[in-house]
Symmetry: C2
Subunit: 442 residues, 2 copies
């Protein structure tokens, strides 16, 4: 009988180990042939590994492999000797003694993924996504995204949150409205979740604090740089709050944790993408009405609708707080009740406004959150006052009938946060395989 006993030791060396080896060491390095630069007597063969590039030097007669047979994007195993070389990435190169080809492409590359910056439109890159992402700068964006998700989970775990997984197919949407994808579920009408809102709230009654990282679906007919029809939402919900500033404080804590993680473990990617990390030590918080006033005054704008915030106003608020407070983020609080879903808690002092907030990052909304109604009677009254029905929400409402602590939470758009972090302006840049009005593939 054969037995599996755990992870196998591999003799392929990682980039990290390679850089620490002594000159003269014999190594095996596996990777994709990222580029071949044939200089006549010698050739530079650059291998692409998950963690970075490795320069290998091929000298005629020294390597037991004819150079002309080697193709870019082949998967290979290079055997050779470590040599210090200042001009190589990381100051180390491998002098090739042998190359073993593991796999070969059948067609030449349609994109120059081995260039530092691909001279290609976003549209073309999205059309050839599986290939385009092999570019070192392109893939670095998604390592930054990985860090965002890791930070979100690790930080919330340290704060006593429990991770949950809630269904994406359901009988009714959390926010209602028309922007819902519909499907047939064994001859019953069903919808795709616009958010885990109802579920995460119900689970506050079970675990006090919960979070979820998962896809959400919005059938919005927006075709902008900021909108996707499917995106990854970072959601949390916490009970026993004093007020909605507890939520904002928790988000600030997450952002601080994220910046520390990026500095500590993602410096390489920050350098590749030339990222300046934003300031998170103190994030200003300003009420909605006040923010509109400040911007109207400073930039000489008329307030057209006191209960709505236009995208240009968001941009100006971002600019205002950058100029006045050198702030990259700003919390806008107390949104008008009309603009928030029924479950948002109204301000008892002025029920035209809610105890809720958005977080802007350089003028773009990346988070919506706030305190929720926890009292069943209040919730029921608000549903009635809005002319809505409780039908289909019985389970959600049962959690409130049977007691729920004061609570609140938020949702963060992963792709938007990543986009702003790396200074991009189209959310498709930071989505592996975006879904929008025209794009259902790849």
């Amino acid at each position: 009988m054969e037995f599996m006993t755990g992870v196998k030791k591999k003799d392929d060396v990682s980039v990290k180990v390679l850089l620490e080896l002594e000159e003269g060491s014999f190594v095996k390095v596996q990777g994709a042939v990222h580029s071949i630069r044939d200089m006549g007597e010698v050739a530079f063969i650059v291998l692409r590994k998950s963690e970075g590039l490795v320069q290998c030097v091929y000298e005629e007669g020294k390597a037991a492999f004819p150079l002309k047979d080697l193709k870019e994007e082949s998967a290979v195993e290079v055997m050779g000797i470590v040599k210090k070389e200042e001009r190589a990435p990381g100051g180390v190169e491998v002098c090739i003694s042998e190359i073993r080809v593991l796999s070969e492409p059948t067609e030449p590359m349609p994109l120059a993924v081995n260039k530092w910056k691909m001279n290609t439109s976003l549209e073309a890159m999205l059309n050839m996504r599986p290939i385009a992402l092999r570019n070192v700068r392109e893939r670095a964006k998604f390592k930054i995204q990985e860090a965002v998700v890791r930070a979100f989970r690790d930080f919330l775990h340290s704060q006593g949150f429990t991770e949950i997984h809630t269904p994406k197919i359901g009988a009714k949407g959390a926010e209602g409205g028309a922007n819902i994808f519909k499907l047939d579920y064994f001859h019953r009408p069903a919808v795709l979740a616009q958010s885990p809102q109802f579920y995460k709230q119900m689970m506050v009654g079970v675990f006090d604090r919960v979070f979820e990282v998962g896809p959400v679906f919005r059938a919005e007919k927006h075709n902008t740089k900021r909108h996707l029809n499917e995106y990854t939402s970072l959601d949390f919900e916490m009970g026993y709050i004093d007020d909605y500033t507890d939520i904002m404080s928790m988000e600030t804590g997450f952002l601080q944790y994220l910046m520390e993680l990026l500095k500590k473990e993602y410096q390489k990617e920050l350098n590749i993408l030339n990222v300046q990390l934003p300031k998170t030590d103190q994030i200003p918080s300003v009420p909605f009405a006040k923010a509109k006033e400040l911007v109207a005054e400073k930039y000489d704008r008329k307030i057209r609708n006191p209960f709505d915030l236009e995208p240009e106003e968001e941009v100006l608020i971002g600019r205002y707080f950058k100029e006045e407070y050198d702030a990259d983020f700003v919390f806008i609080t107390e949104y008008p009740s009309k603009k928030r879903p029924f479950y948002a808690l109204d301000d008892p002092k002025d029920p035209r406004y809610t105890l809720s907030f958005d977080l802007l990052f350089h003028g773009l909304e990346i988070t919506t959150g706030g305190q929720r109604i926890h009292d069943y009677r209040m919730l029921s009254e608000k549903i009635a006052a809005r002319g809505m029905t409780e039908e289909g929400m019985e389970q959600y409402l049962s959690a409130f009938k049977h007691g729920m602590p004061p609570h609140g939470g938020l949702g963060i758009g992963l792709e938007r946060l990543t986009m702003k972090l790396i200074g991009e302006d189209n959310v498709r840049e930071t989505t592996l395989f975006p879904r929008d009005l025209t794009r259902l593939e790849p």
Copy 2:
């Protein structure tokens, strides 16, 4: 201007801190009133917190709050004095001086969630899921599930895997076939992803090793204890493998890591659920055909179909390896090619079989995995040989045309693994909000 500066300090004490405090300390404890036992002169008020239960003692005249006004499932803040008491959970109780009610239920509980075991059918518990999960044993199952996901991510991260997020709406399913949920995507036909198979393979060309934790959707008309129509899949895919045993070794490493994490951080939940952790130090591996033979011989069964494994055979294989090797897990390898999707790599020595495997846990399949075809020509030929078309798979195939390393991977059903870990026999027990043929709510 107000500023958010990070997580606020709360004066609510956690169970962990409470147990470490000196007798006589004054504390504030927030939680839900899990149960009230009125003994006349004194009453025991048990608070339910995320981490566990806290016994509080109410004495007539000592607490500034009339006991009769307190309801079970109210959210409260108890102020009082810490006292050592052997019979209380954790050996500590709180002598109440004051109770502040934060929120009250409007209806009495329909389920005795404060009993150790609820005397209720699974069906009833699923119908009242948001309430039923407040039971301490019920929610413990999902802490174990949290551990599974944490272990999967943390272990794979330590092994150089990159986390990815791939779309759940697409133009075509990865495995094809009829078991796909269909939806209208802005007047285009679309489907829900049955698995991230194509995407994770394409991303091996970018990151070498990737993983994803996310929902998958199967429109299967099975109505069994083992099937769900939406579940959470733990997927990974790794490049530069020598053969498919690299995948099995990696999974064994994950399981070993998981058991260590459970022992270290989830002992409380293991005790609540009375879990005996399975053995993972060495997991036997046996070819499909051999497994059928062993079972036929030992349990005197006829082999009816040499190319299919019946559920009863899986159960017997589980039993065989428990009896003969004291093994909780067993890898069944070299599945018949007919039973595997087109992208599975056939055994060059006998193309009727594939270089693939399932992992059984106490006789139930919890993982399917294997080595994939990495050569474009071979893949193209197999598609043709199966009478399939390349239409709709252009992007997937482009990754192979442009070079892919030898690779393989697997998918683990989160709910099934959790179910087997805690010794349950219905996958709905370990799904927060299951979706099956009849259940679309809550």
